[in-house]
């Protein structure tokens, strides 16, 4: 068992309208087998025993699938490891004496609720606008009626792996949500079941996205930050469908 001492600079903020500041916290005796969030648990335990308020941060499953955890760690969304959410980052990545800066996701669309917790509900608004296949309970045909070629199912699954954590937005210099939206659009637009609403879906979701988020300028930071390593190729697929939608939807609705 190895232990290290680290110094944290943690963003503290009481509420969305309050000014925030960095607290410097010395954390001696961190076991390197701890996960990053277990290190924060330890810090909170010590804060409580000192009579201070614990640091607020979002977390839940701690196995990289629920997408609840976040954190900018030394300026990187989910920290330095590729394809890894904060909850699966371990302290063995750090060295004795390191200073670690911890901030919330930084994006206008994600206002801070408290400390390191942000409001990501614009993601829900995007899905509500069209991120579904209309298939009400009851009338579905047999599941094997429509064969789906394996590469198509696999590609849809690659997109559907998105955990909606928001790292793509936090990493983007423009705070764009194109990777998130593209993953959601592509998952459904690639599947035969998603074809009926394909063009309506992409138009509605992109338009909703633009109400909240900045514009994509192809930096590619999102793909680097994504804990599920979702490819920016999906943004190209979405853009192609969006462009087509502008013609097809006009025609379908007899708009000019």
């Amino acid at each position: 068992m190895k232990t290290i001492d680290v110094t944290l600079q943690v963003w503290r903020q009481d509420g969305p309208a309050d000014p925030g500041h960095f607290d410097t916290i010395q954390v001696p005796g961190v076991n390197t087998d701890m996960s990053f969030l277990e290190m924060l648990d330890l810090v909170n335990e010590r804060l409580i025993s000192d009579g201070s308020e614990a640091i607020v941060f979002d977390h839940d499953c701690r196995e990289g699938i629920c997408g609840t955890c976040s954190l900018m760690i030394n300026g990187q969304a989910h920290g330095p490891l590729r394809g890894t959410a904060t909850c699966q980052l371990h302290m063995r990545t750090y060295n004795d004496g390191d200073t670690i800066v911890i901030e919330p996701w930084r994006a206008t669309a994600f206002p801070v609720i408290k400390d390191l917790m942000v409001d990501r509900s614009p993601f829900d608004r995007i899905v509500e606008s069209g991120g579904f296949i209309t298939a009400e309970t009851g009338g579905a045909p047999d599941a094997n009626l429509i064969p789906i070629p394996k590469p198509v199912a696999d590609a849809a699954m690659d997109a559907a792996a998105c955990i909606s954590c928001g790292a793509c937005v936090a990493a983007c210099p423009n705070s764009a949500a194109n990777l998130f939206t593209a993953a959601k659009v592509s998952h459904l637009n690639l599947l035969p079941q998603g074809q009926a609403e394909r063009y309506r879906r992409v138009e509605a979701m992109v338009d909703t996205m633009e109400q909240f988020f900045g514009s994509c300028t192809n930096h590619g930071e999102c793909q680097e930050a994504c804990p599920k390593e979702i490819s920016i190729d999906f943004i190209a697929i979405m853009n192609k469908d969006y462009l087509k939608a502008k013609f097809k939807n006009s025609r379908l609705l007899s708009r000019t």
């Binding site: 009579g51 499953c61 609720i113 509900s121 829900d124 298939a135 309970t137 599941a143 699954m157 792996a161």
Partner: protein
């Protein structure tokens, strides 16, 4: 005594659900908008019920304490979902899935409920595919299946190692559509803190806004609770950090019977604990046992690296003890077998607290690429946590609390003993008996939410046409709100020295030591003496920093731990009074000479449904006898 009427329809087993659906009362589509329904919890069961009831035309209010419905813990299920499709033509059928589930549950569940579950399993797969769930497929484009524990057919549908995530996204998307259409009013970051009963019927709920600390009431014609299980009573479990019993427990305190609390599932394949700071345990999917083989060195003092241990000096103990099911023995059996090896000093790893799960033979037979295709993301997860690659060295695994079969007692309609209050998914006790088979939790959650509740709720609602929900200024609501505010302010006011997590850790240790994989009369009695004492200390020495009027995660935790204390007592008491071993409940006093569970069908072929008396140490035990008309109560053998 409580009146426990399971309301099982008459007629032959395979006709019961069909005849129920015809006999039940209906609500005309135009009248449905006159009804309000509250759904608490937005995982597979709650989300599916909310979406479907909204599609049917009811006005739905959905509540989740997460920031988004899509975060519910259903998302973490890895391996798959069972359905009796028989796409592999290997002899599966509704009857076989029914029988496997009853037997897997060690004959402690209701025939009629389980048969219905098997019956609607086929609809679930159709529904989820139509909604765009990208299940794994063969090259020809048809759906792929794999095997899971406790079955000798391939009936498990999967989406890589993320089946729960993909199914929950399907449900969430259906729900999101209804939110967008204005048919569901969604309340996120809002936690249930009480259930309100007026004139003997569920009238609504009291909730706390986790961001502002504000307490508010909501009323409706019916309340559905789908708030998951209570494995976190053990502190360390595979459950997410926020999983808790509060919603179920609040309902229990208001009159809903709590059934079979001692039926808890310990999952055999989890990453062993590495140290005291650990906050949770990580599951390695049961699907790994399709190709992975469990073994320990024959010699307990063997310190060689696993690849240096020759075949003749390895004990593949599941294959040896259960030749016909081998590594795919059900979870309760496999967990206990692992415990036997580790207790005998044959454990591997630095703390000797695990056994090997080895893929080397499968990688030789199928090639590394096939193994990567099947389990790649699980292997990566294992490596991220332990720093070891399962492609190079065998995994080390040990059992961990994972799922709870016990929960709120419900009848055939999924209604609790409080009229108008329903419970679905893991939160109820209904379908898995004393042990749940792998890949059946997702099936049950979706069955309850998509296919059962949308058919049963109308039977209760129809006679209420023309009534309005109880107004939230009713004295019962006002009293419940005042009590909730006092409860939360009270935690802050204690001003003791120990955080809620410390208490939770201590409670969890008691539960794991005395009410875990093995239980004895002496141990349970010890736990029943120590838990109330620790609870008393909690009431006097708890420290919650911050206040109750803003976001305070320490305070949220305190309230959940408070309820875990009372549930822990009930669980131990249930385990103490069930003088037999069955499924996940193993009493050392009741075992066969070769260490298998010894059931007592004469005295315990029943559900124990506990009623709240006001004293958590003295609940009232009620019994619902289980009648088996279609299956023979056999000794459960996987040999």
């Amino acid at each position: 005594m409580l009146h426990l009427d399971a309301k099982i329809p008459d007629g032959p087993l395979d006709q019961k659900w069909t005849s129920y659906k015809f006999e039940r009362k209906l609500v005309n589509p135009a009248n449905r908008r006159k009804y309000d329904i509250i759904v608490v919890g937005t995982g597979l069961a709650g989300g599916a019920a909310a979406a479907t009831l909204a599609e049917q035309g009811y006005r739905v209010k959905a509540f989740t304490f997460h920031d988004s419905p899509r975060r519910a813990h259903s998302i973490a299920a890895q391996g798959g979902i069972n359905a009796a499709k028989n796409y592999k033509a290997d002899g599966d059928s509704v009857w076989r899935l029914f029988y496997d589930t009853i037997k897997g549950g060690d004959f402690r569940s209701r025939e009629a409920n389980v048969y219905r579950l098997a019956e609607v399993s086929v609809n679930i797969i159709d529904q989820m595919v139509a909604q765009g769930v990208p299940f794994a497929r063969e090259y020809g484009g048809l759906l792929d299946n794999r095997s899971f524990g406790g079955a000798q057919v391939s009936r498990t549908f999967y989406a890589r190692g993320q089946t729960g995530q993909q199914l929950l996204l399907g449900v969430y998307q259906q729900m999101a559509r209804q939110v967008g259409l204005g048919n569901i009013e969604l309340h996120n970051r809002t936690e249930l803190v009480d259930v309100v009963v007026v004139d003997g019927k569920a009238a609504g709920i009291v909730v706390r806004d986790l961001v502002t600390g504000e307490v508010a009431s909501h009323s409706a014609h019916a309340v559905i609770m789908a708030t998951g299980g209570y494995s976190n009573v053990f502190y360390l479990s595979t459950n997410a950090m926020t999983c808790n019993i509060t919603a179920d427990w609040r309902a229990h305190r208001k009159g809903a019977a709590f059934a079979n609390a001692c039926f808890t599932q310990i999952h055999p394949t989890c990453i062993p604990q590495s140290d005291d700071f650990q906050s949770k345990l990580t599951l390695m999917s049961e699907s790994l046992r399709n190709d992975g083989r469990l073994w320990v060195p024959v010699n307990p003092d063997d310190t060689r690296s696993p690849d240096q241990v020759p075949e003749s000096e390895r004990d593949y103990f599941l294959e040896r003890r259960y030749p016909s099911f081998g590594n795919l023995a059900p979870r309760d059996i496999a967990s206990r077998a692992v415990k036997v090896e580790v207790d005998a000093g044959k454990g591997v790893g630095p703390l000797k607290n695990g056994v090997y799960l080895d893929f080397s033979e499968a990688m030789e037979r199928l090639g590394v690429d096939t193994i990567r295709e099947r389990y790649g993301n699980l292997f990566e997860m294992y490596e991220r946590i332990t720093g070891e690659s399962p492609y190079k060295v065998p995994m080390r695994i040990y059992p961990a609390p994972h799922y709870t079969m016990g929960g709120l007692w419900v009848d055939y309609e999924l209604m609790t003993t409080i009229p108008g209050l329903y419970s679905a998914g893991e939160a109820n006790f209904s379908d898995h008996g004393a042990n749940r088979l792998g890949a059946s939790a997702l099936m049950q959650g979706l069955a309850d939410g998509y296919f059962v509740l949308p058919n049963t709720v109308s039977n209760y609602l129809a006679p209420q046409l023309g009534t309005r929900p109880v107004p939230t200024d009713h004295p019962e609501f006002q009293a419940a709100e005042a009590a909730a505010k006092a409860r939360y302010d009270g935690y802050v006011a204690i001003g003791g020295t120990k955080s809620p997590d410390r208490f939770h850790l201590e409670l969890g240790r008691l539960m794991w030591d005395y009410c875990g994989m093995e239980r004895s009369r002496a141990g349970l009695e010890k736990a029943l003496a120590e838990i109330p004492a620790l609870h008393e200390e909690f009431r006097k020495d708890l420290r919650v920093t911050g206040d109750a009027h803003s976001l305070n995660q320490t305070l949220e935790k305190a309230a959940r731990v408070d309820d875990f204390f009372e549930l822990a007592q009930l669980t131990c008491l249930d385990a103490l009074t069930r003088e037999e071993s069955c499924g996940g409940h193993f009493r050392v006093e009741h075992q066969t000479p070769d260490g298998e569970a010894l059931r007592d069908d004469e005295h315990f072929a029943h559900v124990a449904a506990w009623g709240w008396t006001g004293d958590p140490g003295q609940p009232e035990r009620n019994v619902e006898p289980l009648e088996f008309e279609n299956v023979h109560l056999a000794v459960r053998s996987y040999k």
